[in-house]
Each structure stands twice: as C-alpha cells, then as structure tokens.
C-alpha cells in the first residue's frame, strides 16, 4: 500500500475550461451563419472535437490520469470511425454497377458451344 496523493484540479482550471467551452460554443454558432459550402460541417466538427477534448482532458481528468483511460476513450472513437467509414464504403458507392459498360458477348466461348 503506497501513500498516494490525488491530484486536485484547481478551480481556476475548471473555470478557464468552462469559459473556453462557452466561447467555442458562440464561435461555432457564429460560423454556422457564414457559408463555407461543404466545409461548414468540417469546421463545426473540429470545434466540437476541441470542446470534447477539453471536457475529456480537464473535466474528466484524463490529462493527469492513467493513460489507460485515454486509450479506452480513443479506442471507442476509433471503432466508431471504422463503423462509419466501412459502412460508407458501401452506401456511397451503390450506383457504381450502373457504370459497368456492357461488353460484347464472346460467342466463341466454350459455354456457348452446343454439346
């Protein structure tokens, strides 16, 4: 049994993180009114990810904790990404069969030879 002192996050850190989260919220709302075309969702997700990381590292204490918890957190996101990506490999390429061009039939092929 080792004597161990737990790290206590200072209130200042919590307040700083809280304020940052509120600022980032305002930013993300403001940016949504600017038309960036297809990049709107990218920017929104980047800001959301930043907020999530702040919550995870500081509110949830991963910054000072055993890195195993970070591995678990990152792992869950990894497998979620695998799920989304591999599924979209299918859903986004469904129409490809219509691009197959018909090739002329090889009438000399064995399958067409009568007996």
């Amino acid at each position: 049994m080792k004597a161990h002192t737990e790290h206590i996050t200072p209130v200042k850190v919590y307040l700083a993180v809280g304020i940052s989260l509120l600022i980032l919220t305002i930013i993300t709302v403001a940016v949504s009114f600017i038309d960036l075309g297809p990049y709107n969702i990218t920017v929104a997700l980047i800001i959301a990810s930043l907020k999530a990381l702040l919550v995870a590292f500081f509110f949830m204490h991963i910054f000072w904790d055993n890195k195993l918890y970070l591995i678990i957190f990152a792992g869950s996101l990894l497998f979620l990404t695998i799920f989304l990506t591999l599924t979209m490999f299918d859903t986004e390429t469904r129409g490809s069969i219509y691009e197959e061009k018909a090739r002329p039939i090889n009438s000399e092929a064995p399958i067409y030879q009568r007996n």
Partner: protein, 215 residues
C-alpha cells in the same frame, strides 16, 4: 496485504486497499462510457449516411429547429458540467456544503435542459414534424423530410433519456452526501457520476452542431 485494523469500512472485502478499489471503479466507469459512445455512435452513423444521401433535405429540415433554444441548452449543459466538476472538487477539500450546493445546481441545470427540450418537442408535435409515419408537416422541400425528424427525435430522445438517468444518479449521490457518507478520503461515487455526466455533455456537444447548425 491489508491490515484489518486500519482497513477503512468503505473498502470492499475483495479489494486489497482503497486505491485498488478506486482505480477499479474508474476503469469500470470508463469502460461503461465506451459502451455509451458506441451506443450513440450507431445513431451518429445513421445520421452520417442519411445526411450524405439527402444533403439538401437535411439543410432545409434543420431550419425547423430553433438555434437559440439549442444554443441555450448547450450553454446550460456546459455549465452543469462545470458545476458537477466543482462539486467533486469541493468534496476533495472536505467541503460538504459546497458539494451539496454544486450538486443541486447541476440538477437544476439538467432540469432546465429538459424543460427547454419539452418546449421544443411540443412545438414539433403541434406542427406535425414527427418521425416516420407520423410526419404530417408540409413546409419542407426535399425528399422524405421525415427522415431528418426520425433521426432528430431518436438522437435527442436517447440523449434526453440519459439526462434523466443522470439526474437520478446525481440525486442518489446528493442524498448520500446529505447523509454524510462521503469525505475527502472517499467520494468515488460522486466522481463516477461526474464522469457519466461529462459524457452526457460531450454527446450533446456533437449533437448540437450536427442537428442545429447545418450550414
């Protein structure tokens, strides 16, 4: 390894010491959060696929959502996360009164979130902007606008359920705090509820831009 005379009462019999118990609890809670991320993740995948298939419809349909209410709810939930963290901080310094105060504030903010959601939902019910076969609204251009609302209600509904579960959990640790069962030496249940609550906040952090701020 453990000395019976100095072993605190809150350490269960199969753990060697308090530290092993606390670390086990934390590891267990993080694994549970992993399952929650995968659970919600399925809905995020459905969102991604249907949005990719119907980009214009999603853009048109999302205007039915009130960005102001969504933003307020985001602020409310972030603040509740802050008060949750502060409640644990207070107990780490043996300040029971502050712990109780911050836990109460967290509960109140959670309640506010749900009230705002109630107003949002009832407005949609009024207009017929409902999931699937109950959809009767006619003001949205694009094919199959009910899909957006199916996904909206599924995601925010599941999230709202988790807010309710969280409120029960917070009430539970609040009650135990009132009964003086925690101290700077042992406050693991509050910490675990805190981790859960932060995840609920984190999920909303993603739901908000994906549903309310579509371009």
């Amino acid at each position: 390894m453990s000395n019976a005379t100095t072993r605190p009462a809150f350490v269960q019999h199969h753990f060697a010491d308090a530290e092993q118990q606390r670390e086990s609890a934390k590891l267990g809670m993080w694994l549970f959060l992993l399952t929650e991320i995968l659970l919600f993740g399925g809905l995020f995948v459905a969102y991604g696929i249907f949005r990719a298939w119907n980009p214009e419809m999603f853009f048109n349909a999302h205007k039915a959502l009130d960005v102001n209410l969504g933003t307020i709810n985001t602020i409310v939930l972030i603040t509740s996360s802050l008060t949750m963290a502060l409640s644990i901080h207070a107990m780490q310094l043996n300040n029971r009164r502050q712990t109780i105060m911050f836990l109460l504030m967290t509960l109140i903010f959670a309640g506010v979130f749900l009230v705002i959601k109630y107003f949002e939902y009832s407005h949609k019910i009024e207009l017929g902007q409902l999931p699937g076969k109950f959809y009767t609204f006619t003001g949205i251009a694009g094919s199959n606008p009910h899909i957006f609302f199916s996904i909206y209600f599924a995601m925010t509904g599941l999230h709202g359920l988790h807010v309710i579960f969280g409120m029960f959990a917070i009430s539970w640790v609040l009650r135990k705090t009132l009964k003086n069962e925690f101290s700077a030496e042992y406050y693991t249940p509050i910490e675990m509820v805190g981790l859960y609550w932060h995840l609920v906040d984190m999920i909303w952090i993603f739901l908000f831009p994906l549903l309310y701020l579509i371009g």
